[in-house]
Amino acid sequence: MGGYHWNWGVFFQQVPSGGATYLDWFVQGVEWTLLVSAAGWAIALALGALLGVLRTVPSRALRGFAAAYVELFRNIPLLVQLFLWYFVVPELLPKALGDAIKGSPPLAQQFVAATLCLGLFTAARVCEQVRAGIESIARGQRAAGLALGLTLPQTYRFVLLPMAFRIILPPLTSEALNIIKNSSVVSTIGLIELSRQAQQLVDYSAQPYEAFIAVTIAYLVINAVVMYAMRWLEHRTRIPGYLVAAK
């Protein structure tokens, strides 16, 4: 490291185009990563839960539909899906709608495509976790719920899903961390999230070590917060005596 000149003060210097500091850029990168990941996660969780339920219902058609969704979204590379959402889908929509999309601010287009892409991709993975969670308890618990006169939807709502979600919290944590990592692909359609911002900081500030260290720490902190939050949730929803009684 002989000749390297450390300068952490670089974050408070103005960027070449002016009007912002490198710190502002860095913060914007963090914000976009969080925003895209959080919005994508909301879609993934809601849709994944629904699809996971469909994977386990008696109707063969509904099960088949959910299975086809999973195969489709799991087997096309994420990057390809992103390009499809950003470049291809607006062309396939009715002309008026497609034109409206193409006429909207680029940043909005990028954000919507990025969020949809990450959300729908991750939903396929969440779906499989939810399915596994339900299947691990469904045999006896479904019959118990139905035997009491609960309808099938009530049995899912009050009996199967509350347990299934508790069981799959650890793998869901991994999926939440995955979506944050995967969010870096959205830089390819021009959204300057954290990983892309790292590149930009290096290019403009000429202080590559500071830039990469700061970005790495930001990713670590985000992951730590997510893990901590999920641990807290696991703890909050722990059932007294359940682990002891688990068969």
Binding site: A143, L148, L150, M163, I239
Partner: protein, 242 residues
Amino acid sequence: MISIRNVSKWYGSFRVLTGCSTEVRKGEVVVVCGPSGSGKSTLIKCVNALEPFQEGEILVDGVSVGDTKTDLPKLRARVGMVFQHFELFPHMTVAQNLTLAQVKVLGRSPQAALEKGVKLLERVGLLAHRDKYPGQLSGGQQQRVAIARALSMDPIAMLFDEPTSALDPEMINEVLDVMVELAEEGMTMMVVTHEMGFARKVADRVIFMDGGTIVEDAHKDAFFAAPQSDRARLFLSKILHH
């Protein structure tokens, strides 16, 4: 109360039940026994439509179970069921297990449901455990809660599928005692069990199944005195002398 008429069921090409017919009258206790895999569980699950069947007819209090127009949740709410592995809802307290269906299915107020639940817990001797979770109870206690949960719906009949086979020996009697009391109060019961002491004490009839058919359907005394078929004789001698 429960009429099973010529019921046959297939799992794919495998025939699980073949032409099963029997009748459980109001207030009657019928014990179903037979070797493992003979179709006992399948038969009683057909009674409350937890399993569909392809041939024959089952009537519960005059309502056809197989009829596509039958409101199955409503029918099931009137028939209590107790499972081998208890199947309490692990994420709910004992009290919540007892009130969920009363409120969601019968539309009782939470207040009324809890009152009912408390009464039943008292009856099975578990009132002190009302705020515990199933995982904090012994197997025998869990099964008594499961019986109380089924009773909370004021069922017209009760189905039991090997209610004591998952229990440690020292807990079997606390569950059987509750069932005996229920039988003596006149509950209509269809009980899959190998507890022949229970059958001797409270059963009216004993049904012996083998290979998906009802091989024997006899008054208790006749069944224990002299089973008609070799298969039933062999089965009895095995479970009575182990």
